[in-house]
Each structure stands twice: as structure tokens, then as C-alpha cells.
Symmetry: C2
Subunit: 210 residues, 2 copies
């Protein structure tokens, strides 16, 4: 672990800054102070300044941040619009729903194929994305330098799929299965939908209104 690297909590705030700055830009706002951002985002102003300073600092004391500049800088830090190639493993409802989401393409994330074990859907296309047989997964990834494998298989198949992705030198796994994936030399980002539901439930039970 690199000690100088950016803390994970800060990285997780970057997409939220990006979203807020996009909205400000759409509203025609040119300049924003950390104090204004803090009110709009429920963070405190010094935390915002600290976060952004980690990446070199974009603001000027008493002047604030230029909305479009800061938005573009954050998009650059996040590495958006670089044209990443993604595949989906598991062409069920979740897989097809992700394949349909236009927001990913806009940011440079292209879903190029789906993979499944079900002979009834192999060869079909959903949203223009073809489903290939699982046996082709490894070769396809290697020949096409796939960046991200999106796992939407049932829990019991997730590790096996992840192993193939690792062998094929895929760089990242976006894991929608509830499985914990043992991985080495690959980045795994888990989408834990249950966690989000439990937080909602806690807030409902405790009348936790913002």
C-alpha cells in the first residue's frame, strides 16, 4: 500500500463533486466557493478545500473555483472519457439493464460484449450487444484488451468468472454479485445493494431526515 495515495473516502467523494459541478454548470454558474459547495453537498468547507488540495488545489483564496475548470479537472482525475472497454458476464436482467444504460457510454465506458452459459441466449443481442458463450471469455478478453469485467452472475459462479478475468489480465472487476471475490493484481469494486437498502431502512426507522 502506497502511503501517499489519496484516501478512499476522498476518491468516493469525487463523483459527488463532479455531479454537483455539472449541475452548477447547467444552471449557468461560473464560479463557486467552497462554502457554497459545502451548503449544497452537506460537507464542510474546509473538508472540500482539503480534498481538492490533495489533487493540487484548483481554487484561489477569496475567489473560489471556476465551475467548468474544476468539473473538467475532476473528470480527468477520475479518468473519464478515455474509452474503456467493458464486458458483462451474466446476461440476465441485471446484465441487460446495465447494457441499456446510456450514461456509461457518454463517459467513455463502452460495453462491447456479454457472456452467458445459457444456450438459449448465446448468439442473441440485447441493446445491440451480442452474447457470447462463456467458453470464449478468456480468449476474447485477451484478444480485445478488455479493461473491466462486470460480474452479474449468481453468487456461486462469481469467483470462477473472476479467476478467468484475472488470467486474461483484465484490469478491473465491477462485482454485482453478493460474493466476496478473492482477487490479486486486479481492482475489485463491489456493488452492495443490500448495504444501501439497510441504510435506507435504518434511516426510515429512525426518522433520519436530511
Amino acid at each position: 500500500m502506497n502511503e501517499r495515495r489519496i484516501p478512499e473516502v476522498v476518491i468516493r467523494r469525487l463523483p459527488k463533486y463532479l455531479r454537483r459541478l455539472q449541475e452548477l454548470e447547467e444552471e449557468g454558474v461560473l464560479r463557486v466557493s467552497s462554502l457554497q459547495l459545502s451548503h449544497q453537498m452537506g460537507l464542510n468547507a474546509s473538508q472540500i478545500r482539503q480534498d481538492l488540495n490533495l489533487f493540487g488545489g484548483f481554487g484561489q483564496q477569496g475567489y473560489g473555483y471556476l465551475v467548468t475548470n474544476l468539473k473538467e479537472s475532476i473528470a480527468d482525475i477520475l479518468g473519464l472519457e478515455q474509452g474503456k472497454k467493458m464486458i458483462i458476464i451474466g446476461a440476465g436482467n441485471m446484465g441487460i439493464s446495465l447494457a441499456s444504460y446510456k450514461g456509461f457510454i457518454k463517459k467513455g465506458f463502452n460495453i462491447v460484449k456479454m457472456f452467458d452459459v445459457n444456450p438459449n441466449i448465446i448468439g442473441k443481442s440485447y441493446r445491440g450487444i451480442e452474447v457470447l458463450a462463456m467458453e470464449k471469455l478468456k480468449d476474447y478478453c485477451m484478444e480485445n484488451a478488455i479493461d473491466v469485467g462486470i460480474i452479474t452472475t449468481p453468487k456461486e459462479h462469481a469467483q470462477g468468472v473472476a479467476d478467468i478475468l484475472m488470467e486474461a489480465k483484465v484490469k478491473g472487476i465491477w462485482n454485482f454479485s453478493p460474493a466476496d471475490i478473492n482477487a490479486k493484481d486486479i481492482i475489485v469494486e463491489d456493488v452492495r445493494l443490500s448495504d444501501s437498502l439497510y441504510v435506507l431502512n435504518y434511516k426510515m426507522n429512525n426518522n433520519y431526515i436530511d
Copy 2:
């Protein structure tokens, strides 16, 4: 905002504690120290003790936590297994995929109906869950004391759906649309899949291996 309430970051860690404790229980572990938990979860031990103390403290100095007790306490705090009633608005692939997820039912979250505007699917059932017409949404929620509305509609319909849910006194919205929902007197939990993908991308680009 209530000043004595539990910080949001702590609430968001509770499902992670729960998952780890479940795993320990399955492994037959009876007792765990905050130090052991800290190694397994990438948090520091004093933070774990602080978090759990907010809910009354469950451990004993030099003795640690009883795994099953702590697991059950956290499940109680999160309000699991209370038998909450949920509906899905938008019976597309994402909606059907959520309707299929057995993990929710196990924890007491029951999806009882889906709603859609598409006449071709109204009246059909997916995974045993019937799709009703959108016009019935408000009355159905009021008559059946629905707890959570899961919004999986396209972005442009999300606010309209949320308005109906609020009128019908639904307590929580689990928002899978990319829309920002203006809400009052209702808890909204947003699932921002793009945020997760951007974090994955950042980590891939920066070789951010755990």
C-alpha cells in the same frame, strides 16, 4: 437535523460489520476483538470501538465481542427482519432483477407488487410479482401501507413517481434512477452506479490495489 443522531458514515459501516460478523459466525468463531476486526475490515480498532459505543457498546475490555450477539444487535439496529413491504416502480430489466433477488426476502424485505405504464406488461407477473398499472400506484400504497418504493423508471419519470409516493405516505424511496429527487418528509437513498464505476476507474488508472 438532530445533533445527537449517529453520523451517516457510521451507519454506512454497519452493514459491513454485519457481513463480516456473519462470515465469522459461519467460520465458527465465537469471539472477536476490535483489533482482529480492524485487520479484517481495513478500519482501525479505535474507530470500531467508537462506532459500536455509539450504540451502547457491546464489548468488554480485553475480552472482545461475542460474534453472534454483536451480529444480532447490529441486525436489530439496522431494523432487519421486521417484514417491510416494498414495491417496484418500473418493471424493466432493473426492476425485474431486483424482484428476483432472494437476499432481500431473507432479511424481511418483501417486494409485493411492481408498477409500470407499459400496457404489454401490466397484468403479467415476474418472479411471482404482479405488475399493476401506474394509475393504481397511489391507492395501492395507501391501502397496503407500503414502506418503500423502489424507483427504476427512466430519469424523467422519477420525480413524478416520487411525488405520488410522498402523497401516499410511503416512508422511503430507494432510487435507482440517475435523477436527483426533491423530497420532503420521506427518506431517499440513491443508488449511484456511475459513482461506483468512476471509483473503479480511478483505482484502475492509479493501480490502487488493496
